[in-house]
C-alpha cells in the first residue's frame, strides 16, 4: 500500500479522507459522504452542470477540458441509454494519484459518478479500473456492493424515484485504453483501438449511447463542489483553473509523494519545498511536469504556476499531474529512449505515423545512446517526431512526439556528447549493461 505524505501547503479536498478509513461506508457517511448526491438529487440537472462549469473544474486525466462543458454536450433526449464512464485506467508514466483515491476514498468516486449521471440523465455508470490495480478492484467492488446494500444505488435511490446502477469494470494492461474512445472499446470487450471522432462520446459512446467519460480524480472532486459550492472550489485555484489537484512528485527528490496542492501552485516551490529538493545533494537538470507525454522544462523554466494555462504558456502541459524530476546525473538521451520505448510498447498500432514512428524513434535512440549515432540522426529524430505530431489517429502519437522534440531542442548538446562512438557520458563505470529488453 502506498505511503501517505503531507506538507503544510497542501489543501486537502480530494485527499481529505485519505487515511481516515473511508473505504468503510459508515465511516464515509460520517465524513459527509453521500451528502452531495442527496443535494444533487434535489437540484435540476442543468443546475448541477452549471455548478460544475462555474467551479472551473477541468479534466484531471490530462487534457484539461472543462468538465461541466463536457457534460453539457450530452443530448437531453436520447433514444439510446446514456452512460457515465469513470476512467480509472491510470497509466501515464509519472502518475499514481487515482490509485490513492481508489485505495482511500472509493465512495467519493462512486458519488461523483452518481452526480454526473444525475446531471446528464443517465441510469448506468461504469468505473473502469486498470488491470494491474487488482487490490483496488476488490476495494471498489466492495464499495459498490455496500452502496447498493444501503439503497444508494439500484432502484429508487435515496427514495427519489431515480434508478441508478453503477458497475465495476477491469482492464488487462494497455496504456492506450486510457484514451476515452479506446476505453469504451475495451469496456465493450474489444481491442483498445480508438474510435473515429466525430461523433464524440457525448453523442455516440458506449454501445452507441451518449456517454460522459471523466477521470477518477475529476469525478472525486465533484461531490466536494456540490457540497462546497462552485465559488468556493473555483477560488481554491487560479482563474479558469478551479480547485486543487493531486500532484505526484517523483524522480530524484528527497520527499517524493502524492500531494494535494491548489491549482496554480508554483512548480519551483513544489520541487524545492514540498518535494524537499533534489536528492543526494545533486542539482536539477529537467522536470517533466505532467506525465511522460509532456515536454520537459529546464531549471530556468520552472518558476511557473502549475495550472493548465500557465504550463501551456511555458511550452509544456499540466497533463496528468505526474511531476518527474531529473537530477544532473540523468542522461537525457537515455530518458528519451526509455520514454520512446514505452510509447512503442503501448502504441495500439492502428495508424502508420504512431506505429512506425515510435518503432523507428526507439531504434534510432537506442543506437544513438549506444554510441553509434550520427549528427544526422539528431535531425532525423526531430524530423520524425515533428511529422508524427498532429498526424496520428489519437493523441498517443503526440504524446510520443512532443517530449522527444523538447529533448532534442533543449538538450541538443547532450545528444552531441553521445556522438562519434563516445560512451554515454552518464553511464556509471561498471554499471549494469542496458537492460532495455
Amino acid at each position: 500500500m502506498a505511503t501517505l505524505v503531507s506538507h503544510p501547503d497542501e489543501v486537502r479536498v480530494i485527499s481529505k479522507r485519505f487515511g481516515q478509513g473511508a473505504t468503510n461506508i459508515d465511516r464515509y457517511l460520517q465524513l459527509d459522504g453521500y451528502k452531495a448526491v442527496q443535494k444533487a438529487l434535489a437540484m435540476q440537472p442543468d443546475a448541477i452542470i452549471h455548478e460544475v462549469k462555474n467551479s472551473g473544474l477541468r479534466g484531471r486525466g490530462g487534457a484539461g477540458f472543462s468538465t461541466g462543458m463536457k457534460w453539457s454536450f450530452v443530448p437531453k433526449q436520447s433514444a439510446k441509454p446514456k452512460y457515465v464512464l469513470c476512467n480509472g485506467d491510470e497509466s501515464e508514466p509519472g502518475t499514481c494519484k487515482d490509485r490513492l483515491i481508489f485505495e482511500h476514498d472509493p465512495h467519493s468516486v462512486i458519488e461523483g459518478v452518481m452526480i454526473a449521471a444525475l446531471a446528464v440523465g443517465s441510469n448506468t455508470g461504469y468505473i473502469y479500473v486498470r488491470g494491474e490495480y487488482r487490490y483496488l478492484s476488490v476495494i471498489m467492488q466492495k464499495a459498490i456492493k455496500d452502496a447498493y446494500a444501503k439503497g444508494f444505488l439500484g432502484k429508487n435511490i435515496f427514495g427519489s424515484g431515480y434508478d441508478l446502477d453503477i458497475f465495476w469494470h477491469g482492464g488487462a494492461g494497455a496504456y492506450e485504453v486510457g484514451e476515452e474512445s479506446a476505453l469504451m472499446e475495451s469496456l465493450e470487450g474489444k481491442r483498445g483501438i480508438p474510435r473515429i471522432r466525430p461523433p464524440f462520446p457525448a453523442v455516440v459512446g458506449l454501445w452507441g449511447g451518449p456517454t460522459v467519460i471523466n477521470n477518477a480524480e475529476t469525478l472525486a472532486a465533484v461531490p466536494h463542489i456540490i457540497l462546497g459550492g462552485a465559488d468556493w472550489y473555483a477560488k481554491l485555484g487560479t482563474p479558469k483553473n478551479g480547485g486543487t489537484r493531486l500532484f505526484c512528485l517523483a524522480g530524484n527528490l528527497n520527499k517524493p509523494g502524492v500531494y494535494e496542492l491548489p491549482m496554480g501552485y508554483n512548480l519551483k516551490k513544489m520541487i524545492y519545498e514540498v518535494g524537499g529538493g533534489i536528492s543526494n545533494g545533486r542539482s536539477l537538470k529537467a522536470v517533466v511536469p505532467g506525465g511522460s507525454s509532456t515536454p520537459a522544462l529546464l531549471p530556468e523554466e520552472i518558476d511557473i504556476a502549475m495550472d493548465f494555462d500557465s504550463v501551456a504558456k511555458a511550452g509544456s502541459m499540466l497533463g496528468s499531474g505526474g511531476v518527474v524530476v531529473l537530477d544532473d546525473t540523468a542522461c537525457i538521451v537515455k530518458f528519451a529512449l526509455r520514454t520512446m520505448k514505452f510509447y512503442r510498447h503501448e502504441s495500439c498500432g492502428w495508424c502508420i505515423p504512431c506505429r512506425e514512428g515510435t518503432d523507428w524513434l526507439e531504434k534510432t535512440l537506442k543506437r544513438f545512446h549506444a554510441g553509434a549515432g550520427t549528427k544526422k540522426d539528431i535531425d532525423n529524430i526531430y524530423y520524425l517526431s515533428e511529422n508524427m505530431l498532429g498526424k496520428t489517429f489519437c493523441p498517443l502519437g503526440d504524446a510520443a512526439a512532443m517530449p522527444t522534440m523538447a529533448f532534442v531542442k533543449k538538450f541538443r548538446k547532450e545528444f552531441e556528447d553521445h556522438l562519434d562512438g563516445k560512451p554515454c557520458p552518464f553511464e556509471k563505470a561498471g554499471a549494469a549493461e542496458p537492460v532495455l529488453a
Partner: protein, 784 residues
C-alpha cells in the same frame, strides 16, 4: 438530400450532402491518396495518407472520415499536406522490405505508386527492418507480414464483405499482425478477396506467386465460366509453347456486375484449362480403343456417319445434347444445326432450372425480371430455396452488400438454415421439399399452412413473415430450382400482386439461361418459341423437321430400343452428370466435343478436343438474363471452339455452311493497312466497326455472324452492340413465348455444385481440389 457547395484547391465543387470529402474530391477530379479507405467498407482513418487542410481546423484532417459541409474550404495540395503524405510514405518504408524486384505486387503496388507520386527521394531510415517469416495460410493464400502496411482492407472485406470473418488483427503497435482464424491457417471460403484488395504484396496468391511479372501478361476481361451469376474476371495471359497460358484471375476490372467480388472459382479455377489430361487431339475409336487421329479424318468420319444415319434412318434417329457452358452463339448454332442440317428435333441439354416456365409465367407481364445489378439496390429481397452462399456466390454478395450498405430487407424461405439467414429480416424454415407449398401460402392460400409450420417456424411466424413480405415494394424475388413448372406461374402471380416485384430464376451453370434461350429443347426454338408455332423459324431457317423431338431421357430410351443411331454431344457429360446408362447408347454412334475424357467421352466413337469459354469469343446470358461478352484469353494448340467444330461437321456432311452461318456480310473496309501498323487507327476502326455491327465477318467460324442473326431473330436479344463490345452487361427482357409449353419438371436436375466444385471443370481444377474446405475433393479426384 440537397447538394452542398465547397471549395477544394480554389475550385468550387458540389457534392451530395452527407458524402465523404474524399469521394467529393474524387468526383471533382481531385486525387486524394489513401490506403485504408475503400468504398463500401467501414472507415478506418488509419493510414493518414488522405490528410487535407480544412480552413478553421488547427490540425490536418482525414478526408476519408470528414463529411462535406456547406462552405467548407479545403486544400489538398498545400506544402503542409504534401509534407505529411511524404512523411507517411517515409514511415511506411521504414519497415517495408524493398524486395519489389521479386514481389508479386511489383508493378501493381499501391505503395510503389504512392512512393512515386508522394514519397521522398531519399531514405532516412537506417535501422534494421523488423522481420517475420512468411506464412502460408492455405494452398492459395500466403501472408508476408513485413510487406503488410496494416490498412485492414483484407480484414474488412473478409468480415464485412464476405461475412466470413476469417481474418483478425493481433498484437499491438509495431508488432500488430493480421492473423488467420485457425492459428496458422485459414478456414474460409478461399475467395481470395483479401489478396485482390491488398494494396501491396503482403497477401499473395498461391496459384500465381512468382510465376510471372504483371507486365508480361495480357489482361483479358471476360466472364467466369463456372456458376450462373456471370462475374467478370480478368485473366492474365502469357504466350507459351502450347498457345497462351492463363496465369491469373482477378477482379481488378471493376466494371463487371460483380464490382469487387470474385469467388474461389472465378479467381483460381481457370487452371482446368492446363490440366495434363486436357485433350489436344481428335480421337477415333479403332478396334474398341480411342486412338489419336487427324482433324480431317475425324470430321470426315463424323460427316459420313451422320449423313448416313440422317439419310437412311431419318433425322429423328439422331440426338443432340448441348451445353450449359458454351456460348449463346454456339448454342444457337447447335440448335439450328440440329434442325437444319441433321433434320432432328431431338435436342436437349442438362436442365438445371425451369426458365421456360418463367417465360411462360411472365407472358403479358413485361419488366418483371431483375438483373444482378438490381439485387444490389432493391429495397427488399425474397429468397426461396437455393443456397446462394454456395451456389450463387455473387448473388449472395449482392444481397449481403445491399443489406449492409443500404439496409435492404432480406426474407429467406428455405428448408435449411442457410448462411444468408444471418442477414435476413425474416426467415422461414421449411420442411424439406416444401418450397412450392410456401409459394401457395404466400399467395394467400392458408390450406397448406399446417404442413409448413414446424418448431423452426410456427404458424404465427409464417403469417407474420407473409405480412412483412406483402408490405414490401420493388422487391426482388429469387428462387431456386426447387420451384418449377406451374409453381413458377403461381409465384409470378403472387409477385404481380406486389408493387414492382421482379423475379430471378436460379440455374446452375455459366450459360444455362443461354442454353435455354437458344432453344436447346426438343419442343422449343430460340427465344422459347414453341416448335409447334415456329413460323418465324420456318422463314429464317427453311424447312424444319416435322417430327416431334425427344428429351434426353426419351433419347436414351430410344437408344435402348435401337432407334437412336447417332448422338452428338457438345460440352456435356450426360453419363457422368445425369446418370445416363452407358450401355443404353453402346450401339449408338456417339460424337463428343469435350476438353477431357469424361465418362461420356470415354464411350464415344469420336472425341473432338474442344476449347473452353476462356479460349473463345461469344456471349453468355447469366441466370438473371444479363448478357455479356465472353472474350478469348487463353489458347491450347490443336483444340477448336465448339462453334468451329459444328460448322466443320456441317461442311463434312456436305452442307453449304452459308446456310448455317450468315458470314460474308459487313463492309469490307480499310483496316488501317494504308496508314501503317503502328498508327493505332486499325484498332480504332475495328472497334468502331464491331460496335456498329459493321465489322466484316469473313469466315464461317466467326460467332459474331451468328450474333447478328440472334439479335435479329431471338426475342429479347435486340441488344446494343456498342455496349456489348464495351464490356457492359445488358439485362434482357425474358422472351414472351407464343404459347405456354409446360416442361416436365422431372427433367430438371440441379448440379448441386458448391463453392469448391464445378461439374467437370471442377474435377480438373487442381486449385479447387487443393483447398481443404473442399469436402468433395477426395472423391472427385478419385473419379478422375
Amino acid at each position: 438530400m440537397p447538394d452542398v457547395t465547397l471549395t477544394v484547391d480554389g475550385k468550387k465543387i458540389t457534392a451530395a450532402a452527407g458524402s465523404l470529402l474524399i469521394e467529393a474530391c474524387k468526383s471533382a477530379g481531385i486525387e486524394v491518396p489513401s490506403f485504408c479507405y475503400y468504398p463500401g467498407l467501414s472507415l478506418q482513418g488509419a493510414c493518414r495518407m488522405c490528410v487535407v487542410k480544412i480552413e478553421r481546423m488547427p490540425k490536418l484532417q482525414t478526408a476519408c472520415t470528414t463529411v462535406v459541409t456547406e462552405g467548407m474550404i479545403v486544400a489538398t495540395d498545400s506544402d503542409e499536406v504534401r509534407q505529411a503524405r511524404k512523411a507517411m510514405v517515409e514511415l511506411l518504408l521504414g519497415n517495408h522490405p524493398l524486395d519489389c524486384p521479386v514481389c508479386d505486387a511489383g508493378g501493381e503496388c499501391e505503395l510503389q505508386d504512392m512512393t512515386f507520386s508522394y514519397g521522398a527521394s531519399e531514405s532516412k531510415f537506417t535501422e534494421a527492418k523488423n522481420h517475420t517469416e512468411e506464412q502460408q495460410w492455405s494452398p492459395v493464400v500466403y501472408f508476408d507480414r513485413p510487406r503488410c502496411i496494416l490498412c485492414y482492407r483484407c480484414v474488412r472485406v473478409c468480415g464485412e464483405g464476405m461475412d466470413v470473418w476469417a481474418l483478425g488483427v493481433q498484437n499491438r503497435g509495431v508488432s500488430s499482425i493480421i492473423a488467420p482464424n485457425q492459428d496458422d491457417h485459414l478456414d474460409c471460403e478461399e475467395c481470395g478477396m483479401c489478396i485482390d484488395i491488398c494494396p501491396v504484396g503482403a497477401l499473395t496468391s498461391g496459384a500465381y506467386r512468382y510465376k510471372t511479372r504483371p507486365w508480361e501478361m495480357n489482361h483479358v476481361g471476360t466472364i467466369c465460366t463456372h456458376c450462373g451469376d456471370g462475374c467478370k474476371t480478368t485473366l492474365g495471359v502469357r504466350q507459351c509453347d502450347t498457345g497462351a497460358e492463363i496465369l491469373r484471375g482477378d477482379n481488378r476490372d471493376k466494371s463487371g456486375i460483380n464490382n469487387d467480388f470474385l469467388c474461389v472459382k472465378g479467381r483460381y479455377a481457370f487452371d482446368f484449362a492446363h490440366h495434363k489430361d486436357r485433350l489436344t487431339e481428335p480421337l477415333i475409336r479403332k478396334n474398341g480403343k480411342l486412338t489419336a487421329a487427324t482433324w480431317e479424318d475425324a470430321f470426315e468420319l463424323i460427316g459420313k456417319r451422320l449423313r448416313e444415319v440422317r439419310d437412311h434412318d431419318g433425322g429423328s434417329a439422331i440426338g443432340v445434347v448441348g451445353s450449359n457452358r458454351t456460348t449463346n452463339e454456339e448454342n444457337y448454332l447447335l440448335s439450328k444445326f440440329a434442325r437444319v442440317v441433321l433434320k432432328t428435333n431431338n435436342v436437349d441439354h442438362h436442365r438445371t432450372a425451369d426458365y421456360p416456365a418463367l417465360a411462360a409465367a411472365l407472358r403479358g407481364k413485361p419488366g418483371r425480371t431483375a438483373s444482378m445489378r438490381e439485387v444490389l439496390n432493391a429495397p427488399a429481397i425474397l429468397l426461396i430455396g437455393n443456397d446462394p452462399t454456395n451456389q450463387h456466390p455473387l448473388l449472395a454478395w449482392q444481397i449481403r452488400t445491399n443489406v449492409r450498405l443500404r439496409r435492404a430487407k432480406l426474407y429467406v424461405i428455405n428448408s435449411a438454415p442457410i448462411k444468408l439467414r444471418r442477414q435476413a429480416a425474416g426467415f422461414g424454415l421449411l420442411p424439406a421439399g416444401a418450397e412450392a407449398k410456401a409459394v401457395v401460402f404466400l399467395s394467400g392460400d392458408d390450406s397448406l399452412l399446417d404442413s409448413l409450420a414446424s418448431d423452426g417456424t410456427s404458424r404465427d411466424a409464417w403469417i407474420e413473415l407473409r405480412e412483412k413480405i406483402r408490405a414490401e415494394q420493388n422487391m426482388v424475388i429469387a428462387f431456386g430450382s426447387e420451384v418449377r413448372g406451374h409453381d413458377i406461374g403461381k409465384l409470378a402471380e403472387f409477385a404481380a400482386t406486389l408493387t414492382g416485384a421482379k423475379l430471378i430464376c436460379l440455374g446452375d451453370y455459366a450459360n444455362s439461361r443461354g442454353a435455354s434461350e437458344m432453344g436447346l429443347y426438343p419442343d422449343l426454338l430460340p427465344g422459347y418459341e414453341p416448335f409447334a408455332d415456329a413460323g418465324k423459324f420456318h422463314r429464317e431457317w427453311g424447312k424444319l423437321p416435322a417430327e416431334e423431338g425427344a428429351s434426353l431421357r426419351e433419347m436414351t430410351e430410344a437408344a435402348k430400343a435401337g432407334k437412336l443411331k447417332a448422338l452428338y454431344v457438345v460440352g456435356s457429360n450426360p453419363v457422368g452428370r445425369l446418370g445416363i446408362d452407358p450401355f443404353a447408347i453402346s450401339k449408338t454412334f456417339v460424337v463428343v466435343q469435350e476438353m477431357f475424357l469424361t465418362e461420356t467421352a470415354n464411350i464415344a466413337d469420336v472425341v473432338l478436343p474442344a476449347a473452353n469459354a476462356y479460349e473463345k469469343t461469344g456471349t453468355y446470358t447469366n441466370t438473371c438474363g444479363d448478357l455479356q461478352l465472353v472474350k478469348k484469353a487463353g489458347e491450347v494448340t490443336n483444340t477448336k471452339s465448339d462453334f468451329e467444330m459444328i460448322v466443320r461437321v456441317a461442311d463434312a456432311m456436305g452442307f453449304d455452311v452459308r446456310g448455317l452461318v450468315p458470314f460474308g456480310s459487313g463492309t469490307h473496309s480499310d483496316m488501317g493497312q494504308t496508314r501503317g501498323a503502328q498508327s493505332g487507327e486499325a484498332d480504332r476502326h475495328a472497334v468502331w466497326l464491331e460496335a456498329h455491327n459493321l465489322e466484316p465477318k469473313m469466315t464461317p467460324f466467326d460467332p459474331m455472324a451468328i450474333l447478328d442473326e440472334i439479335q435479329r431473330v431471338v426475342a429479347g436479344y435486340d441488344i446494343s452492340r456498342v455496349s456489348l463490345v464495351a464490356g457492359n452487361d445488358q439485362h434482357l427482357e425474358i422472351a414472351e413465348s407464343g404459347a405456354s409449353v409446360a416442361q416436365n419438371p422431372e427433367l430438371i436436375v440441379p448440379a448441386n455444385d458448391d463453392l469448391f466444385s464445378s461439374g467437370t471443370l471442377g474435377r480438373y481444377s487442381k486449385t479447387l481440389n487443393s483447398v481443404f474446405e473442399n469436402k468433395s475433393a477426395d472423391s472427385e479426384v478419385a473419379a478422375d
